[in-house]
Symmetry: D3
Subunit: 315 residues, 6 copies
C-alpha cells in the first residue's frame, strides 16, 4: 500500500502530530508523487487587507479535520494517486517581482516532473507565476470561482501586478484561453460599469451570482461544463467567492455570496473536467474567526483533490 496516505485518525487523534496538509507525509522530492499540495505564503499583491501569507499554515492545521473518502462517491483520492505535502514554495515578503520569479521557478520544476499542484495561497497574484509554468506550452482553460474577475488592468497609477490583475496578465501572456474560461460567483458593487467589459470582450464566460440565481444551479453548471469541455483546465478558487459570513478570513469580503454547501455542490458537478492544477487563494487568517475559514478551505481543497483524481461525486 502507498505510503502517501494521511495518518489514521482512529489511532492518532486528529489534534495530534505535526500539521501537514491532510496529515499527509512531507515529501521533498516532487517526482515521487502524482499530486503535490504546496503552500505559497505570500500576499505582496494585496491592495486591501493583507494576511494571506499566513494561509498555508492555518489551512494545514485545519486540514487535519478532513478524512479520506468523499461522502458521495465513497471513493478516496489516496486510493488512486500518490499525494504528499511538498512544503512551502520560497517567497520574498518584501519584493514582488522576486517572489513572482521564485514561484514560477518552483512550478516549472513540478511541471517538468509532471507533478500536478494544488496550491494553497497566498493572495490571488500567485496564480500568475503558477500559470506561467503550467500554461507555458499551451494556454489552459480555467474554472474561476470568485467574487471578483481579477482582470483589472492596473492600480495606483499604472502598477500592473496586484491580486486584482493576474488573469488579465495571464491572458495577455497567452497562458489562458479566454474562450475556455468560466468565472462564477462575481458580485458586489463596482468601481465602474465597464469593470467586466474587458473580460467579456475577450470571450470569458462570466456567471455572476445574480446570473446564477436567475438561470439556476443546473443550467449554470451545464454552461460551465460546455465551455470547459475536455480542455486542459486550471481551477482557481478564491475563498471570497464564498459568502464572508461563512468565510470571513479573507481580504476583500463581498457580502451575499455562496454558502459552503452551494460551493461544494458546484465543484462536485465538475468531476469530468480535466484539471491539471489548482489553487485555493485569499485565505487571510488574521481576519478569520476561530479558524472557520481555514476549515472551509481545507474541505474545499479536499473537494479539489477529489476532482483532480476523479473521485468526487455529485447529487
Amino acid at each position: 500500500m502507498s505510503k502517501y496516505k494521511p495518518l489514521e485518525g482512529m489511532s492518532i487523534p486528529r489534534f495530534a502530530g505535526i500539521p501537514t496538509f491532510f496529515r499527509l507525509p512531507i515529501e521533498n522530492n516532487p517526482e515521487k508523487v502524482d499530486i503535490g499540495v504546496v503552500g505559497v505564503p505570500w500576499d505582496g499583491g494585496t491592495t486591501n487587507r493583507p494576511g494571506a501569507r499566513h494561509g498555508p499554515r492555518e489551512v494545514r492545521c485545519a486540514s487535519s479535520m478532513v478524512r479520506l473518502y468523499h461522502p458521495i462517491s465513497m471513493k478516496s483520492p489516496y486510493d488512486v494517486a500518490k499525494v504528499a505535502d511538498l512544503g512551502d514554495c520560497s517567497v520574498n515578503p518584501v519584493d514582488l517581482q522576486d517572489s513572482l520569479k521564485r514561484i514560477e521557478t518552483f512550478y516549472l520544476n513540478l511541471s517538468k516532473l509532471n507533478t500536478k499542484p494544488i496550491s494553497i495561497g497566498g493572495d490571488h497574484l500567485i496564480s500568475l507565476p503558477i500559470l506561467r509554468a503550467l500554461g507555458k506550452n499551451e494556454p489552459l482553460g480555467m474554472f474561476h470561482f470568485d467574487s471578483h474577475t481579477d482582470t483589472w488592468d492596473s492600480y495606483f497609477g499604472g502598477f500592473q501586478y496586484t491580486h486584482g490583475t493576474p488573469f488579465r496578465r495571464a491572458i495577455e501572456e497567452n497562458l489562458l484561453d479566454p474562450k475556455k474560461i468560466v468565472m462564477m460567483g462575481i458580485r458586489g458593487s463596482l468601481y465602474d460599469p465597464a469593470d467586466l467589459e474587458w473580460a467579456k470582450n475577450k470571450g470569458i464566460t462570466i456567471i455572476t451570482i445574480d446570473d446564477f440565481l436567475k438561470i439556476g444551479f443546473k443550467e449554470s453548471l451545464e454552461i460551465t461544463r460546455k465551455v470547459l469541455g475536455d480542455a486542459k483546465c486550471y481551477l482557481s478558487f478564491d475563498i471570497d467567492g464564498i459568502d464572508p459570513t461563512f468565510a470571513p478570513g479573507t481580504g476583500t469580503p463581498e457580502v451575499g455570496g455562496f454558502s459552503v454547501r452551494e460551493s461544494q455542490n458546484i465543484l462536485r458537478e465538475l468531476n469530468q473536467i480535466n484539471f491539471v492544477g489548482a489553487d485555493l487563494v485569499e485565505v487571510s487568517p488574521p481576519f478569520d474567526i476561530n479558524n472557520q475559514t481555514s476549515l472551509i478551505a481545507a474541505n474545499i481543497a479536499f473537494e479539489i483533490l477529489c476532482l483532480m483524481t476523479k473521485t468526487s461525486g455529485s447529487l
Copy 2:
C-alpha cells in the same frame, strides 16, 4: 462633475483616509445635497443588550469597502444625486426625552431643506423622532424589515418609549399610515399570542418569515409593492431582520432569519417605491464579530441609497 462622490479606491487605498460614510465628503450644510447620510449614535431606548450607540462609527469604517456602481443595474447613485456625510446628529446618552427632542430638531431642519436622510443608528427608537419630522405633514407609508414589529405598548410598568414601541407611538401620533405599512421578516418566540394583534388590527400588513417561506419570495414582494403603492414611504431596516449568524452585532438576535443575499434581493424589488427617507438601525458593534455586521450594514445602506435614487436593479 459633482464633488459629492466617494474617494477613488484605485488611487487611494480603501483602508486609507478618514472614514466617512462611503468615503463621501463631509458636508455641514445639508442644503447643498440631495441625500444626507447621518449618524445617530444613541441607544437609550434599548431594553436588552446595548451598544447601538457605536453603530455609526463602525458602519462608517466598514463602508469604505463599498464601491460606486450597483452590480445589477450598473448605475451609480452618485451620478444622479448629490450625497454627503452630514456627520452625527446630537444626542444625550443619559436622557431619553432630551435625545428624542434633539433628533427631531435635526430632522426637521433636513425636512425643511428637502434633504432626504439615510440614518445610521442607533437603536430603533430613533425612528420615532425622525418620523416626527418626516411624517409631520402627512402620514407616511413604510417598508419595515425586522424580526420584531416594534409595536409594543409599554415596558417595565408603563414606560412608553423604548426600542420596542416606536411604530405604535408613530401610528398613534399619525406619522405613519398603518394601511400602507409592510413589516417583513417578523419571527421568533413571543411573549404573548396577542403580540401581533394590535398591529394587525390597525391594518398593518405583516409578512412573518414563516409567511414568506410559505407564499414565496415573488408573492411576498408583490403584496409589498401593492400595499406601498405610490405613497411617500419611509424605509426602516432593522439589522436584526437578517439572521444573527450573518449579522451577530445586534442587541436582540432572533435565529432563523434572512440571509444577506435574500435581504439584498428583497430590497432590490422595491426600486419603484417612493422612499423619502430611511434608517438602518440596531447595529451594535460591541456584539459584532470582526465588524462583519457593520460591513453588511454598509452594503445594505448602499442598496438603500440606490433605492432612494432609483439606481437599484433586480434579478
Copy 3:
C-alpha cells in the same frame, strides 16, 4: 396558574437574574414537574476538541433570550405542562465509567417518577446512559439530527465508549430499535467507505444531507414520520448537524450543513411524534463565538420543548 413559568421579560429585563434554563424555576424535586430540563456537564467521551462540559452553563445564559410562545402555533409549552430547571446531573470529569453510572442513576430516577427529560450536554456519549434509563423496559425509536451517525465500534485500539459510539452500544444493549431510527443530516468526508454500513445493515434509516437535497424537504420528512410512526421515541439533537458557520461552538465541525432555519423547519414537522425524552449535545462554548451557538441551542431546545408538549407548529 402554575408557578412553573419563566420570569417575565417585560418586567424583569432578560439580562437580569440568575440564569436558569428559559428563566424557569429551579426545582430539586423532579416529581413535581412534567418535564425537567437537565444539564449534563461532561465531555469525557470526546475524541477530538473538548469543551462540551461547559455547554449547560452557557445554554442556560443564552436561554434567557427565549420567550414563551411558539411563533407558528401561537401556543406555549408552559400552558400545558409543568416545566422546571432540574439543575445539573452529577458527573466525574476524570472517570468515564463512573460518569456513565452517575448519569444512568439520575435518569432512572426521572424515569421512575415519569418526568420527561430534556438534557443539555455534554458530549454525545451522554445519550447512552440516558437511554439505559429511558429505554430500559422497551427499545425506543429515535430521531437523530447530526452530521455523524455515532455508530462507530471503537477507537484507539478497541476502546468502546466515546462520543462516536453511543448508538452502536445502545442498539447492542437493546435500548433502541434500529428499524425505528431516522438519522438526518449525515455528511462530511469519511474514514472508510464502510462507515455507514453497520447502521444501514441494522435497518436504520439514514438521510444524509445529500439525500435530503436530492429528495427534498417534504419527502425527507414524510419518510421520517413514517419510520417513527407512533412509537415511543427519543430525540437526539447534535448541534453539529447545523452548519458550523451558524453553530461554530462544537467539537467536530462538518462544513456544509443545515442552516438554523432549515433545522427549525425540520423539527416543526415532527409535532405528532411521541417523544418521551430528548437531548441536545455537543455545544462546546470554548469554540463558540459570542455565544451564538448557545443561543441557537437554546432556541432549538425550545422547539424540542414545544414538540414534547405538542405546542409546536409547521408552515
Copy 4:
C-alpha cells in the same frame, strides 16, 4: 454548620451547577444572612461605552472559580458570617430616575435588616442610590478605588445624574463625609486642569497613581488608613482602577493603571477598616476578553468579602 457556604468544588466540578455568586445559596429573605451579594444590572448612567448591565451575570459565572479560604490569612469569610446570593435588584433599563428609586428601595430594606451588601454593578451611578440607603442616618467614610474621581457636576448641558457624578451628589446630599474619603488610582488625561479641584476643596484625599508611585505603596496605605480611621466606611471599587490590559471589560479604560497584584495588595492592607457595605462596578462584559475582567472582578469581590468579615491578610 451553616448552609450559607459555597458548593464544594472537589465533589461538584466548578463548571457545573447554576451559577450564583461564589456558588453560594440563593436567598430571597435577606434577613437570614449577615452579608448579601447583590447584582445591580443597570448602566443607564453611562456616558461612554455601555454594557455594565451585563456585569452581574458574568461575575456570577466567573466567581465559580473562587475557593473558600484567603491565601494569606488562611481564614474563610464563610466561617464567620452567613453569606448568600440575594439575586438581582430590580431596575428599569429605560428610565434613570425610576431605576435610582428602585435601587434605593432595595437597599433601604437591607439597611433596615442590618444585612451588609456587596453589590456587583452596573455602572458607577448605582453607588448613589445605595448610599442614599446606607448613608441615610450619618455620612459614611469611603475607600474609592478608581481611575476617575466621579465628582463631576454635570454633562451634556446640565444633566446631573451620570456615572461621572455619583460622589458629588452623595456629598451634596450629606451621605458621605468628604474628609473621610480616600480616592486611589486616579489617572489619565483630563478635560480641564480644574477637574480634581472640587474634590480637593471638599477635603477628599486623592492619591493619584502618580502620587502612589512617588510616595510608594507603604506610605499610600498609611495615609489611607489614617484618613479612614475607625469610621463606618463604604468601599467603592471601580474595575477601571485596574489597568485595562488586565481588565479590558469596562466602559472608560485608562491605560497605565494598577496590576491585579497591586490591587489585591492594596485591599489587603485595609483589613482593619470598618466597611459596612461595598460595591464593585463598571464591569462591562461586551468589551471583555474571554471573561478575564469578570474573573478578576470575582477575585476582587472575594477580597472585599474577606475585608468585610475581617478574614483578609496582608504580606
Copy 5:
C-alpha cells in the same frame, strides 16, 4: 481661541462624530498648524505579520478617548500649539520604492512649511523616508523605543529595504547621527550574537531591557538625556517596545517588555529634549484585541504631543 482643539467630550459624546486624531479638526493645509498628526497607512516593509497599514484608522478611532490635559503637568498641548489631523499620506500598497518616494515628498513639504509631524504608521520602514525629509539638512539625534534595533543590513538575499533596516539606511545616508541615538527596550532572542554590533560600533547607545533592569529607571533616563542633549531629535516609538500582553496588535511581538506605565514614565522624563518630529509605528489592528493596542497607541501619541509642546510632566 484657536479652532485647532479637540471636540468637547462633555457636550458631544466621545463615541460620536467622525473619528479624527484626538477629535481634532481636519486640515488640508499644513501651513496653518504648528504640529500635524499624519497617518501613514503602509506596511510594505513588513517581513513577518502584516497589518500595520490599518494602524492610522484604528488609532484615530481610539484617540477619541484621550482628553486635553496632561495628568501630571496639568498643561495642554492645545493651549500652546495649533494641532490638526492632516489626513493620510499617499502610499502604494504594492510598490515599495514608489511608496518611499511618496512619503518623502509629503514630509519634504511639511519640512519646508516648518510643520512638525507626528506620524502614525504603518510599519517601521516609514521612518526612513520621513527622515530623508526631516534630516535632509543635518543629521538628527533620535530616541528610539523598540524591542528591535532595526539596524539589520538586508533580508532574503540582499534586499535592503524592510522594516528591520530603516536606521541602518538612515545612518548610511547621514540622516541620523549615531552618537546621538539612544535605543531603549531592545530584547528577545537573536538571530546572531553579532546582531547588535554594527549599531554599537557606530556609537549608538543601546539600553536593552536587561540593561534597564540592571541599572534602573533613573540612571537609564539620565544616560538618555545626556546622549540626546540639546540636539534636534527625532522620536521613533515602535509599539512592540511595549510588552505584547499590553500591546498585542503588532507584527513582531517580543514577550517580556515594558508595561504601559513604565513606557509613559520613560517618555515623561524627556520633556526637555528638542523633538522636531516623531512617529509611532507597528500598530497592526488585525492582530489586536478589542483595539487595546490602538488605545495605548493613542495615549502614547498624546504623551509624544505633550513632549513636542513641552507640556508633559514627570513624577
Copy 6:
C-alpha cells in the same frame, strides 16, 4: 555543522514552512539527538476547563517566532547540543490509565537512549508518567513553577489521578525527593487551610507569590538554588504560574501572578542547576487570545532549552 538547527528566518520567512518546535528538524530516532522536544497532546486529567490537548500544535506554530541566541548570554543552545522535534507522544483521549502507560513507555525509551526531554503538554498529569521514566532509578529534585502545588490527594470521591495530584503520586512512588523540591508562585484562594500542609510536611520548599513579594526576588532565588543544589533535577513549568492576563490560555487561571518578565528572570537564575528533563504544561489554546499564551510558552520553552544546555544568562 550540525543539521539540528532551526530554519533560517532571514531567508525563509518565519510564517512559512511546516511548523515544528523552534523550526527544528523532525527526528523520529531520538538516539540521534541530545535533547528532544516532545508534544504530549493530552488533557484527560483536567478537572476544570479542558483544552490542553491542543497545546503542542499551537506552541509549535508560535515557536517559529523564537530565534537562536539567548539575549543575555549571547549563546545558542544549538551550538552546544543536537536538538530536534521528536513529534507527539502517543496518547488516548478517552482512557486515562492507557494514556499514562503510553506516555511512560515513550519516556522510558528516551531515558534509555539518554535523550533529555523537553515536553510540551498537555495537562499537568503528564508529569507523572514522565517522572515514572526519568525518576525510575533515583528520585529527582524539582523546580516547580506554578500557582498550585498539585499535591492533592484525590477528587470526586477518591479518584487519585488528576492534574491536581501528580506530585503527590510522584513522591509516594519515590520518583521525586521532596526535600529537593522548590515550588514557586503558589497563590489563589484555597479549598481548605490545610491545602499546603501535606507538601510542607514532606519537606517541600514552597515559595508562594506572597512569600516571594515579601522576601524578594534575590533571596527567593538563593533559597531555590540552595535547595536544588547539584541534584539531578526536573523542571516543571505550569503556564498558570504566570498571571492569566499574560497567559490566559490555561484551564485554571489564578489572577495576581508573575509577569512574563519576572518569569524569565526567575528561570535565568537557575542556569547552574542540573536539569535532566523538563515540561511546560497547561497551555489550553481554546481559552487563549490571539495565541499569546502559546507565544509566551514558546519563549519560556526556549529559556528552558537554554537552561538545559547551560546557555542561559542572568542580569
